[in-house]
Symmetry: C2
Subunit: 249 residues, 2 copies
Amino acid sequence: MTTQFTPAVPVRTYERVVEQIESAITSGTVRPGEHLPSERELMVQFSVSRPTIREALRVLQSMGLVESKPGGRGGPKVLEPSPASLTRSFATMVRLDSLSMTELVQFRLVLDSSACRLASTLHTAEQLEQMRSCVERMEAEVGKDAEAFARADMDFHLTVWEASGNALLAMCGRAVAGAILELITRQLKDSGATERTEAESAALDRGIFEAIAAGEAAEAGRRARQAIYDRYASILPPSDGPGLDALMG
Amino acid sequence: MTTQFTPAVPVRTYERVVEQIESAITSGTVRPGEHLPSERELMVQFSVSRPTIREALRVLQSMGLVESKPGGRGGPKVLEPSPASLTRSFATMVRLDSLSMTELVQFRLVLDSSACRLASTLHTAEQLEQMRSCVERMEAEVGKDAEAFARADMDFHLTVWEASGNALLAMCGRAVAGAILELITRQLKDSGATERTEAESAALDRGIFEAIAAGEAAEAGRRARQAIYDRYASILPPSDGPGLDALMG
DNA sequence: CAAGTGGGATGGTAAGACCAGTGCACCGAA
DNA sequence: TTCGGTGCACTGGTCTTACCATCCCACTTG
């Protein structure tokens, strides 16, 4: 025997509770909508104290797996799967990492063009109709209600992400678009100079829509890239140009 | 006055503690590597009891923001930003069936090919050397140490993501790769059938490396796409084919 | 039979205590 | 003087107990 002892890593009690409950949920032993035993019941079943149970429940809650409410008969409720936790993780990462505007725009360029390619072949008739509606709303609001225009713009992209059939792409797209929007509005409050590009934006989005409608994946991707580039390149430091250009070929 | 009372929503004490500490971290008041006050100190500063502080810390810990170890002078340590929490979210969602493996692979295909394109033009000499080293490590471990091979493989992609110059891309890439790896290895434990593709994987990665080294962005992206496709298409349900094919053009 | 009231269970929070591990400072030996 | 070991103080981990606010349900009462 070659002294193959495994390190005696200390394992937190509440972590084991988390593991067991988590696997009970993912394995379907308890289904969404059902209730776990109450804290007092769990502390008996796990042979641990209530604070330990509670710490475990807090972790599960922050993962979006369960929800605790007082009173309701029968303890913590198992929630429906939801992207809330992923969205939050993504958002905190974006906030935490002191990302540059260029990185955000670059990332969105990647996501958007891919989503458009996918949407070109995977869209449903209904989604296509919704895209058309959004584009028309944009065109109708050019130069009028800036907020309504922005909303229509966002709705268009939401629909595209939806139509890509990839929930991950959709979630990241929403998160990064939100982050960009936030930074932009903050930045604009300093510098002024807002609209005037509305007409161009609407035209770009219509171009994307038509490529998607025609099912021309490559063209849709190209137009999406170009749209992001045209819209945001001007607000990025010129020194960051290579980063964007590398993706434009 | 039009009866504009806001609902007296009960707010959990530990949630407020989480918020305050979280904003202290995201705002940079405390930096990664630094220590928060000890639990006993925090319970004085927040005027709450220790269990409340601990529940808040468990939540922050599950978000990957802090780490608690006994002894070390000065309380919980603030961690470097890491994709760990994102990785876990991905894996959990797939296990809960609210995300398919195909979506995960598709997402990685998008990220990987973009990262390779960027890396082709933005890489430093040092990073290039590191990539070469990883590829050679892979080739040396073919058919030998499976774990060392996997590590070299992962290191290669880590370097590529690093070289892309986009921290967001890198984080998401690491997260999705980690999730895929975790899910795959679990799946393999059930089905057996592992190696034999190691040689092919090494060859694919070498191809990517050479395209990056040559600065051929488009070719690097194409090869990265192909590599993901070849490696994972076989484990995905054939009905999900269109999703991947749409990106392969 | 309906409306209101009470009880009982739940989660939220607090206070106090003990244990095990860690790091540092101090002190003794080389 | 310097190196090494020992002890102490502090940390987090866990447990116990307790009290409060809330909520659901059943029972009582009109």
